[in-house]
C-alpha cells in the first residue's frame, strides 16, 4: 500500500476504512499542526490538545472534503477554527486564554511552561523556540493568528482576510501592530537581560 502517496488517494482510502492511510495522512500533517499549536498556545500540552482536536475534526469532516481546495488549506482552516474555539473555551472556563494579559503590576505573565515531569516535551524544545513562544504569547489572539498565518503559513493578506473574515486593510494593520508590539517585547527582553 506504500504506492498511495497523494492526499486525495489517502483520504479516499481512509474513508474506505484503512487505518494505514489515515495514519499516513496524520503523520504528514501532525508536525505542522503541532508546531502551529505550540506557537498559538505557548505550551506543549495545549498544543497537543489542539492537534488532537484538529485531527478529530478532520476525521469527522473528512467525507465533506471535496478537493476544491488543497487539503493543507482545508486542514489549517480547521486548525484555525479550533484554535479560536479553544481559546474562547479556556477564557470562559478558567479565565485563562492563550494570550498573556498584563497582571496587576503591569508586567507580562510568563507563559505556561511545561513541567519537569514532561521530559519528552521539555527536551524537544529549543531555547530559541521557547523565546519565540514567549514573545508570541504577549500578543492578543487575533494578532497572533495574523503573525502565524503571515510569517509561518506564508499566506497573503487576501487569504488571511478571507479566513478571518476581516478586510485586507485590517489584516495589514493588525500584522503591523503585532510586529510593533513584538519589537517592543524584544527590546524589553534585551533590556531585562
Amino acid at each position: 500500500m506504500s504506492f498511495i502517496d497523494d492526499d486525495e488517494a489517502l483520504i479516499a482510502t481512509a474513508l474506505n476504512g484503512s487505518s494505514y492511510a489515515w495514519e499516513k495522512l496524520v503523520k504528514r500533517y501532525e508536525g505542522r499542526i503541532y508546531n502551529y499549536g505550540l506557537r498559538l498556545t505557548g505550551n506543549a500540552t495545549d498544543a497537543m490538545d489542539l492537534m488532537q482536536e484538529v485531527f478529530l475534526g478532520v476525521y469527522r469532516n473528512l467525507h465533506r472534503f471535496r478537493g476544491d481546495a488543497k487539503f493543507s488549506s482545508w486542514i489549517f482552516r480547521i486548525a484555525h477554527n479550533k484554535a479560536i474555539d479553544m481559546n474562547r473555551r479556556r477564557a470562559l472556563i478558567q479565565g485563562r486564554t492563550f494570550s498573556i494579559e498584563d497582571d496587576e503590576n503591569g508586567e507580562y505573565l510568563v507563559p505556561e511552561q511545561t513541567t519537569d515531569n514532561e521530559p519528552d516535551t521539555q527536551l524537544s524544545k529549543g531555547q530559541q523556540n521557547e523565546e519565540i513562544q514567549c514573545m508570541l504569547q504577549k500578543l492578543p489572539m487575533e494578532q497572533r493568528l495574523i503573525v502565524e498565518l503571515k510569517i509561518y503559513q506564508s499566506q497573503t493578506f487576501e487569504e488571511i482576510s478571507k479566513m478571518q473574515e476581516i478586510s485586507e486593510n485590517t489584516a495589514k494593520t493588525r500584522f503591523y501592530a503585532a510586529l510593533k508590539k513584538l519589537k517592543v517585547v524584544m527590546e524589553e527582553s534585551h533590556v531585562l537581560s
Binding site: 488532537q52 530559541q128 523556540n129 510586529l179 513584538l182 524584544m186
Partner: protein, 231 residues
C-alpha cells in the same frame, strides 16, 4: 517615532501587492526619514527573529488510530478475517490447479518459466530450436574465430619457416659455392697437371719423332749418298 507617516508607510511596505510607484515613494521617504528607517529596520529584525523558529518534534500519540478503529469496527478485522479464512482454500486450490495442469517451473538464463503439462511441446520445440540456432550461431562464431586465429598463427609460422629456409638455403649456397670453387680449383689444377704431362709427353714424342725423322732423313741421306756406290 515622531514621523506621522511611519505607520501608514510601513503597513503598506509589508503588503503583498505593493505597486512599483508606492514602493518607490516609500523608499524615497525612507532615504530622508531616519525615524521610519529605524522603525523599518527594527520591524525587519523582529520578523527575522520570528522566522528562526525550528519545528519541534511531535510527542508520541496514537494518531487517532484508536478512534478510527472504533469508528470502523470490524473493517480492518473483517478484511483480516476474510484473508485468513480464505487463505488455506486458496492455497489448496492453487496446488490442485498445479497438479491438474501438470505445472512445472523451470529456470533459464532469462528467468523462470512456468509451463503446463505437454501443451507446451510446441513452445518447448520452438524454444529448443531457438536455443539450437543460438548455439549453432555461437559455435559458428567460435569456429570462425578459431579459424582466424589459426590462420593468423599459420601465417606467422609460415613467415618464420620461410625465413629460416631462406637462411638455410643461403648458408647452404654459400657452403656449396665455396666447395664448388675448391673442387673447380682442384679440377683445373688436375687438368693443368694432366695437360702439362700431356704436353710433356707430346713434346717428348715430338722430339722423338723429330729425332726419328732426323734419323730417317739421315738414313735417307746416307742412302741417297751411297746408292751409286752400291751399284
Amino acid at each position: 517615532m515622531s514621523c506621522p507617516r511611519t505607520q501608514h508607510l510601513l503597513t503598506e511596505y509589508f503588503s503583498d501587492d505593493l505597486s512599483k510607484v508606492t514602493q518607490t515613494e516609500i523608499e524615497k521617504h525612507l532615504l530622508t526619514c531616519d525615524d521610519c528607517t529605524a522603525e523599518l529596520e527594527s520591524i525587519q529584525n523582529t520578523q527575522s527573529r520570528l522566522r528562526q523558529w525550528q519545528d519541534d518534534r511531535v510527542p508520541h500519540w496514537d494518531r487517532g488510530k484508536t478512534l478510527f478503529r472504533q469508528e470502523h469496527p470490524g473493517n480492518e478485522q473483517q478484511r483480516r478475517n476474510w484473508f485468513w479464512q480464505w487463505l488455506p482454500s486458496a492455497a489448496s486450490f492453487a496446488m490442485l490447479c498445479m497438479l491438474i495442469f501438470n505445472t512445472s517451473i523451470s529456470r533459464s538464463e532469462s528467468g523462470f518459466t512456468v509451463s503446463f503439462g505437454t501443451a507446451d511441446d510446441a513452445f518447448d520445440k520452438n524454444h529448443l530450436e531457438l536455443r539450437l540456432a543460438q548455439f549453432g550461431e555461437l559455435q559458428q562464431l567460435e569456429q570462425n574465430q578459431m579459424l582466424q586465429d589459426f590462420l593468423a598463427r599459420m601465417d606467422e609460422r609460415q613467415d618464420g619457416n620461410n625465413l629460416r629456409l631462406m637462411q638455410a638455403v643461403f648458408d647452404q649456397t654459400k657452403q656449396t659455392t665455396a666447395e664448388s670453387f675448391d673442387q673447380m680449383y682442384s679440377y683445373f689444377e688436375q687438368r693443368r697437371q694432366l695437360d702439362l704431362e700431356n704436353v710433356q709427353v707430346s713434346y717428348q714424342q715430338l722430339v722423338d719423332s723429330d729425332f726419328e725423322t732426323l734419323m730417317s732423313m739421315q738414313q735417307l741421306a746416307n742412302y741417297v749418298r751411297y746408292p751409286g756406290d752400291a751399284r
